[in-house]
Amino acid sequence: MTTYLPNPRIAVRVWRRDLWVFSHVWMKGLLPQFLDPIFYLLAMGFGLGTYLASVEGIAYEQFIGPGLIASAVMWAASFETTWNIYFRMEENRLYDSVLSTPVEVPDLALGEVMWAATRSLVYGTTFLVIVTLFGLVESPWALLIPPFLALGGACFGTLGLAFTSSISSVDLYSFYYTLFITPLFLFSGIFYPLDRLPEWVSVVAWFTPLYHLVEITRGLALDPDAAVVAGHALWLAVLTALVFLIPVHALRRRLVA
C-alpha cells in the first residue's frame, strides 16, 4: 500500500476544503500579499527605474513587472505550504482527521499542492492585471501566462510542503526563507539580467525554479519564443513531479507510521 500515486478525484476533496476556507477569509489574506509586489513595482520600477534608461533595450519597470508576477506566485505558494500547512498539521492536527477518511497521504499532498497552485494563480493573475494596467505588457501572448503561474505555484507548493513535512520545529522556517526564498527573489533575474554577474551565478540560477518562471512570464509578456517557454515549463514540471515524492514519504512517516 505504499504507493506514491495520488487519486486526483480524492485529492480534489482536500483542495475543496481549502477553497472553502479561503472563500471566508480572502479579503484578509489577499490584500497584503498583493500589496507587496505593488510596492516593489512602485519603489524599484518607478523609483529606481527613473535613474536607469533601460535594461536589454526595455524600460526598467517593463523589465521587472513580469518578474514580480513570478515572485508573487512564489510567495503565495510558499506562505500557503509553510505557515498555513504547519498550522493545519501540527496545531490543529487536522490531517489526523482527514487521513481517517478515505483520503490517503498522496491524495492529501496532491490536494494541498493543487491548492497552493490555485492560490498562486489567483495572486499572480491579479498582479498580471495590475502590471497590464500600468502598460507594462506588450505581447498578447501574456494571455497565456496564468496556466504557467499555476505550474509555478505547484512547484513552489511542492517545495514548501517538502520542507514543512520534514521539519520538527516551526523555527526552521527562518532558514527556508532566508536561505532559499529570499535569495531566489534577489538572484533569479527579476531585478537585473544575470549575464552581468559572474558565470557561476547564472549556472546556479538555472537550477532554481524561480529563474525559469521569470523567464516564462517575461518572455510571454514581451516577446515570446515558444520553444524556450516550453523548455522552462518542462523543467518546472519535472522538478515538481520529482520533489513530490518527498512530502508523500515524509508525511507518511509523520502521520501514519
Binding site: 476544503r17 482527521s97 507510521a257
Partner: protein
C-alpha cells in the same frame, strides 16, 4: 454473529518501544467493546491500527471483513473515528465541519447534516466557530462528525476524558442511542465505571498486552471483586504499586 474486527498477533513498535506486543481480540457486530488500561498500555495504538493512522507492523487485522493493511481506504469509508485529540477544523463553523467531512467521504449533501446536528444537540450552534464551543459540545461534534458517512463501526478513543459529569452523561446517551441502532462501538477509557456502564465486553490492556477479557460480569466473578476497579488493580495495578 460475524466479527466486526478480528485481530491476531497484532504488534507495533515505536523506535525501541513496544506499544502493542501481540494482541488477539474479536469484536462482534453490534456490540460495544471496551479497551481499558493505564496510559501507555497500547490502547490508542491499537485503535490507530484499526482506523489506518498507524501502520500494522506484525499480525493480522480484519475490519468489517476487509484486510486493514491492503484495503485501508475501503475500511475508512465504512467506519467512524472519534479521536482523543480535538482535531475539529478550527477554520470552519460547526455545520461546515460536518459538511467538509461529507466532502472527504465524497458524499452529496442531504438531510444527514441536519439530522446529526439534532442528534448531537448542536442544532442551534451550527454557525458557531468550534473554538466557541464548550468541551462537551466539541466532543459531541466530534461524535457527530464520525457519523457523517453512516458508519457500521465507530471507534472512540477516550470519548469522555476531561468532561464534567453532565457532559459525560450526554456522551453516554449518544453512544447508547448508536448501539440501539445496531452500530458497533469500540471505546477506550480509563474510567472503570464508564466501561461497566456502556460495554458489553471488554479487554484490559497493560504494557502492550491483553491481561484480561470478558463481560463486566464475568470479570467481577473471575477476580472475585465488587467493581471493575478492583479487577483492574489486580491485573494492571503494578504501575500503582511500584
Amino acid at each position: 454473529m460475524t466479527a466486526a474486527v478480528r485481530a491476531r498477533g497484532l504488534v507495533k513498535h515505536y523506535g525501541g518501544l513496544t506499544a502493542v506486543a501481540g494482541v488477539d481480540f474479536d469484536v462482534q457486530a453490534g456490540e460495544c467493546f471496551g479497551f481499558l488500561g493505564p496510559n501507555g498500555a497500547g490502547k490508542t495504538t491499537t485503535m490507530k491500527m484499526i482506523y489506518g493512522l498507524a501502520a500494522i507492523e506484525g499480525g493480522d487485522l480484519t475490519v468489517l471483513g476487509l484486510d486493514a493493511r491492503t484495503r485501508r481506504r475501503e475500511v475508512k469509508s465504512r467506519i467512524g473515528v472519534v479521536p482523543q485529540e480535538q482535531n475539529l477544523d478550527r477554520e470552519l463553523s460547526v455545520r461546515e465541519n460536518l459538511e467538509v467531512q461529507a466532502n472527504y467521504h465524497g458524499l452529496r449533501r442531504d438531510g444527514r447534516i441536519d439530522e446529526l446536528l439534532e442528534f448531537s444537540l448542536l442544532a442551534r450552534r451550527g454557525d458557531a466557530k468550534t473554538q466557541e464551543l464548550s468541551g462537551g459540545m466539541r466532543r459531541r461534534l466530534l461524535i457527530a462528525r464520525a457519523l457523517v458517512n453512516r458508519p457500521e463501526l465507530v471507534v472512540l478513543d477516550e470519548p469522555t476524558t476531561g468532561l464534567d459529569p453532565q457532559a459525560r452523561l450526554a456522551v453516554w446517551d449518544l453512544l447508547e442511542r448508536l448501539r440501539s441502532e445496531g452500530v458497533t462501538l469500540i471505546v477506550t477509557t480509563h474510567y472503570m465505571e464508564e466501561a461497566h456502564r456502556i460495554c458489553d465486553r471488554l479487554v484490559i490492556m497493560d504494557e502492550g498486552r491483553i491481561v484480561a477479557q470478558g463481560t463486566p460480569g464475568e470479570l467481577l466473578e473471575r477476580y472475585d471483586e465488587e467493581n471493575l476497579e478492583g479487577v483492574f488493580l489486580q491485573v494492571a495495578g503494578h504501575a500503582l504499586r511500584e
